[in-house]
């Protein structure tokens, strides 16, 4: 009986731990499908975590925090787009700058606002959204249907993006732009505009993930609290082979790794807990090596597009 309880708790918290990574990874999936690499997710998530927290306190609503966080995320992503799409600088270097900038903005901003005031006020958390009937189901209900709305939103977003990429004209254009911008250009599709759109979306989603992390999962902001989740999200995109539903699975894998390591620390106190904390990072590297052979990235990923006229 204890085993069932344990596993149910593990599965449910895997979903919760997966959510911030999932949002960032889905946003990055879109950016990369359009051909733009943004390694600065970590920085955007940090700013999202900070802005979400502050916004939630100021507006008195977690949703207000979410909106403010997404706006900030788009601003940072816009900077990235400006540098690598318009100025055509190296996308990786611009992304690195974004990591540093996000670290600074979040830490600086936090200390200037709530962080400077002794004990920071609590942000209003997202309410738990129980689905009548479903939430009361044994086991399944506890795992799947006793979460905050962001968890459901993240999963819904994965399905929505999968559908969007497959079934809509915009999705078709984004795929074409990331695979063969010259072909898209010849078909009269504005390559830069599509890429800008996807990068901005990616920024908004990464910030949303950061916002969930601070407002909901941790219940407060701590400097550098994202601790590598931005990069794990990028690993998810690669491991999920740029397909939203597989990215969802990859995010769940990392969520499970994180949920498991915390529980393992309690179960096996004689083993140094640091070894468990390392686990998600080791899983990320291993995941990349596993898919390395079969990886087929969007053909134009990381390359600036220069129309031939």
């Amino acid at each position: 009986m204890i085993d069932t309880l344990f596993l149910v708790g593990l599965a449910a918290s895997a979903l919760r731990f997966a959510t911030p990574i999932l949002f960032a990874a889905l946003g990055e999936t879109m950016a990369q499908r359009s051909g733009v690499l943004n390694v600065g997710l970590e920085g955007i998530m940090l700013v999202g975590a900070f802005a979400g927290m502050v916004g939630a306190v100021w507006t008195g609503s977690p949703w207000g925090g979410l909106v403010i966080a997404m706006a900030c995320g788009m601003a940072l992503a816009g900077l990235h787009a400006l540098f690598c799409l318009t100025f055509r600088v190296d996308q990786i270097l611009s992304g690195i700058a974004l990591i540093v900038l996000g670290t600074g903005l979040s830490g600086f901003g936090w200390r200037l606002t709530l962080g400077g005031t002794g004990t920071p006020p609590k942000a209003p958390p997202f309410p738990r959204l129980d689905l009548p009937g479903l939430s009361d189901l044994p086991v399944v209900g506890q795992i799947l249907f006793q979460h905050q709305p962001m968890v459901y939103l993240g999963i819904a977003l994965a399905f929505a993006l999968a559908w969007f990429l497959r079934r809509t004209t915009w999705g078709l254009e984004i795929r074409a732009v990331g695979e063969n911008p010259a072909a898209a250009d010849a078909a009269g599709i504005g390559v830069l505009a599509r890429r800008y759109g996807c990068v901005l979306f990616g920024g908004a989603m990464a910030a949303a993930g950061g916002c969930y992390l601070s407002v909901s999962q941790v219940g407060g902001f701590v400097e550098n609290m994202v601790s590598g989740r931005g990069f794990i999200a990028i690993a998810c995109v690669v491991f999920g082979q740029w397909r939203p539903l597989r990215v969802l699975c990859a995010a769940l894998l990392f969520g499970a790794a994180e949920a498991a390591q915390i529980r393992l620390q309690l179960i096996a106190p004689h083993i140094p807990y640091q070894l468990f904390v390392m686990m998600p990072y080791v899983v990320a590297v291993a995941a990349l090596v596993v898919v390395a052979r079969s990886t087929r990235l969007p053909a134009a990923l990381g390359r600036p597009f220069v129309p031939d006229r």
């Binding site: 540098f83 700058a97 140094p272 390392m278 990320a284």
Partner: protein, 340 residues
């Protein structure tokens, strides 16, 4: 070999970008309700105009210079080593672990060599995964950073903890493995000489040695490299070994010269800073010490600014980001179409 096209337009662009960066930095200071002039005064006044301040800048610049050299080598090869942090920590751990076993005559050299080996091996993992499987070195090196941090916190609480078992830190390393103080009354140690020597060595390696030339060619265009008979994957791996080795040396020097024992968080964020150092130096080894000095000033000065004016310390990261974006902006300004 003169392989850089520079002209006055580059200089002008540089000036414009620097001005823009200063203005943006000032805006952030204003946003915090402080006076940019006061910040500037305190920063320079503390970090440059006073002896102890200057000494602290030097102390801070040493690891930045070494790790920055490492970043420069990797980036020249178009290998984005963001893992100097992890390599530095692993180098320091290995060196400290080996310290007690080293014969006194070789203690210092052995200590530093162990640091290099640790960093190189750790960086080499990412290099090998890239060369062999094409795995993104960016994600691997970052993941390795977090792994290394956990390794460090474990080591100083577990296998390597001091005999008393009270504080999360190791025992002090043997005196023979320590770097002496260079300027009495300060913390400035012989590491500064090591950093300068490494700068010279890396300059020779990158500018005059066949290895550095191959690194440059692979970094510019792997197809051209193959055409010229360069084994590009091997060069990628070697570049990561050198890069990690320098970061590991930085870690060993920090322990041998400054902390004398392993402890939590002994080099916070140096890896990211090293990237900014290398980029500001345009990946040019001889410019790295100056760039490291500048970031040392920024860092020490920001500490003073926080104490005296109350401007939150993380502003230093914002300044650093402005520097990196500025460098990228200069590149974009200076780029011209190569005639077809």
């Amino acid at each position: 070999m003169d392989d850089r096209v520079t002209d006055w337009r580059g200089g002008l662009g540089m000036a414009a970008v620097v001005a823009a960066g200063l203005i943006i930095a000032a805006l952030f200071v204003l946003a915090a309700g402080k006076s940019p002039a006061a910040v500037f005064r305190v920063m320079l006044g503390h970090a440059v105009a006073t002896g102890p301040g200057l000494a602290e800048v030097m102390v801070r610049a040493v690891p930045l210079c070494l790790a920055g050299l490492g970043v420069a080598v990797a980036f020249r090869c178009n290998v984005f080593n963001i893992g100097a942090d992890g390599q530095l920590v692993v180098g320091a751990i290995l060196a400290t672990a080996a310290a007690a076993m080293l014969p006194p005559a070789l203690a210092l050299v052995g200590f530093l060599v162990c640091g290099i080996i640790g960093g190189a091996a750790y960086g080499g993992i990412a290099g090998w995964l890239k060369a062999r499987f094409g795995v993104s070195e960016i994600i691997v090196t970052i993941m390795q950073n977090y792994i290394a941090i956990q390794l460090l916190t474990w080591m100083v609480r577990g296998p390597m903890q001091e005999k008393m078992g009270m504080f999360p830190r190791s025992d002090a390393i043997p005196g023979a493995a320590m770097l002496d103080i260079l300027v009495t009354g300060t913390r400035v140690h012989w590491g500064i000489v090591i950093a300068l020597a490494a700068t010279g060595a890396i300059h020779v390696l990158m500018r005059h040695a066949s290895f550095g030339f191959q690194v440059t060619v692979v970094g510019r265009n792997p197809l051209v490299a193959r055409f010229a008979g360069i084994r590009d994957r091997r060069i990628v791996l070697l570049a990561m070994l050198v890069s990690g080795g320098l970061a590991g040396l930085a870690g060993a020097v920090e322990i041998a010269g400054l902390h004398h024992r392993l402890q939590d968080d002994f080099a916070p964020g140096f890896g990211l800073l090293a990237i900014a150092v290398a980029l500001l130096a345009r990946l040019e080894p001889l410019a790295v010490p100056f760039s490291a000095l500048l970031f040392g000033i920024l860092h020490v000065g920001s500490g003073a600014v926080q104490r005296e004016i109350g401007l939150p310390f993380p502003v230093v990261w914002i300044f650093e980001a402005i520097v990196i974006f500025g460098c990228l902006g200069v590149t974009a300004v200076g780029r011209r179409k190569v005639t077809a």
